[in-house]
Amino acid sequence: MAKGATASRTRSTRATGAGPGEPEMVQLLTPDGKRIETAQDPYGTEYTVDFTDEEYRGLYRDMVVIRKLDAEAEALQRQGELGIWASLRGQEAAQVGSGRALRPQDMAFPTYREHGVLYCRGIDPIMPLGLFRGVDQGGWDPREFNFHMYTIVIGAQTLHATGYAMGIAKDGKVGSDDGEAVIVYFGDGATSQGDVNESFVWSSVFQAPIVFFCQNNQYAISEPIERQTRIPLYQRAAGFGFRGIRVDGNDVLACYAVTRAALDNARRGQGPTLIEAYTYRMGAHTTSDDPTRYRLPTELEEWQARDPISRMRTFLADRKLADDDFFAGVDEEAKAAAQNLRERVLAMPDPDPLTLFDHVYPGGSPELDAQREQFAAYLASFEGSGH
């Protein structure tokens, strides 16, 4: 993404991308694939994107591949190869748009559903599968990828991200165009958590270089957004003293533009932004969930008409930016990636029992050493017994 978004600060009362009576929402690509040249947020900031043809096609390719990988992981769970899977289906634009908006030096803090952002960071999609298969706890070195480990406790990572952003400021890495910034992901349900609200307070009073990226996918497992809030979520930011912007979360272009601008504001020292990506969880919360118990099929149909991938495909086709060969090629590429993922998941070995004692403490523990030794002797007592 060489060129990317441009945002300029102009004052205007006009808001684009919002229907009558709806809160203002930044949109650059309509559900039927029509390109809106510029859109404004409530603060009058104007957004557009200036992608090359190849970059437009790249965004489409990313979304198709991660949807396919997601479907493959779901299938692996259904076949007993994963313990659980949290699908991102429907949220591809929010994740690819924001994920591609990150600059290499930026740090991302995900929930457990940011498989698309992970992919955009150039990380092997096999990496989090160990967590869902149960062969490890999903551990990697966050600094190696500038992508923190998945966090399962809802909202806890927002404080980690805020502290990390404070550290960036302490290191003197804010205040210029090549500064660093943090993005932290969370959902609509998380906005009710104390940690999220504390992170809003902290990042505001310390002017931390952070972007809060809330994917409002309308449901916290079974609970609709109305159980979390009586106002649009992005409006919460005002009470904490920073900008809140709602973006069409199924519009990859708008998600990119708004996130890129917010990250650049943060790295330049202008403090936090809350982005509410208005989207929809097309699948279940996880493979353990049954959404037919709490939502109507008609609702899903409505949102399928706003699908993030199909609108991008329409746009590419209408503008003659891609032809059938391209679309078929992407499908093939996605299929191959999914097949590759499947093969490697099946090849994941179960860990050695004694590794459960590893890495509890950086400095070790004599007590734990004794427990490991005892358990090793216990296991060894079965050797040669035929069990």
Binding site: Q137, W140, L159, H359
Partner: protein, 329 residues
Amino acid sequence: MAIENLTLGKALNLGLRKAMERDSKVLIMGEDVGKLGGVFRITDGLQKDFGEERVIDTPLAESGIVGTAVGLALRGYRPVCEIQFDGFVYPAYDQIVAQVAKMHYRSGGRVRLPIVIRIPYGGGIGAVEHHSESPEGYFVHTAGLKVVTCATPSDAYWMIQQAIASDDPIIFLEPKRRYWEKGDVETSGDLSSVYPLHASRVARPGTDATVLAYGPMVRVALDAATAAEEDGRSLEVIDLRTLSPMDLGPVYESVRRTGRCVVVHEAPLTLGVGAEIAARVTEECFYSLEAPVLRVAGFDTPYPAARLEEDYLPDLDRVLDAVDRSFGW
């Protein structure tokens, strides 16, 4: 040699100062730790000398203190968090037990969080509720945390520095009622050669019964030993110092000699540190014991109103009563 006579609080203050001088990545963060110097003045003067970037007055949110400390540690800092009082640590409980304690484990050893969480704990200061609790059990029970507590100014001075230098996340419990008690501190020397952080220590040698205590109860145990001497009983007092991991080697050695063991703590009896010690001593010293391991602890009640705390807190007489019961078995 540089021996100074310091209060335990001042020793902590000087220890923190040393740690900040030693490593520029050390940060202090908490409520009122800056200009005020903390409600107990443990961080007195540090913001003035090290600046607001390193001694941070935080918003009033304990989960925020610990949660942002995680992020700062991920960034390469070594945060020292002050929780103002024991009873206020619970809002940070999730961040401590679900995040701080587990990060190294679930990262497969790739992420270290060298965070120290200082908690003034225990009663005896006539405070209102939530200001006198002993929450060590919660943290000892959590894998991934180390838990230590100091009983003397000398230990306060050195242990806080050792805790900050350690890459393990450490709950550092400070016996608040002892903040004003004085003792000699040898302030010269270096961290690698002083007494180890995760080691218990015989505070007073004896031959007839072993009394185990930590933090604020070490003084009580020592006073009991002095009183017992008048009755012709020689009590060996061991200051546990480290509650996770425990260092019970010296305890086993002692109990094998004395045959009797009494554990003292302020925290409630049930599932307290004393229960774990009783189990382990019984396993290790079964044939040496003349009596069961006895516990002198707080009762299984909420910490009571200030005018009742002398009844709640283990004191010299309750320790001696337990010693009597051990001998009478």
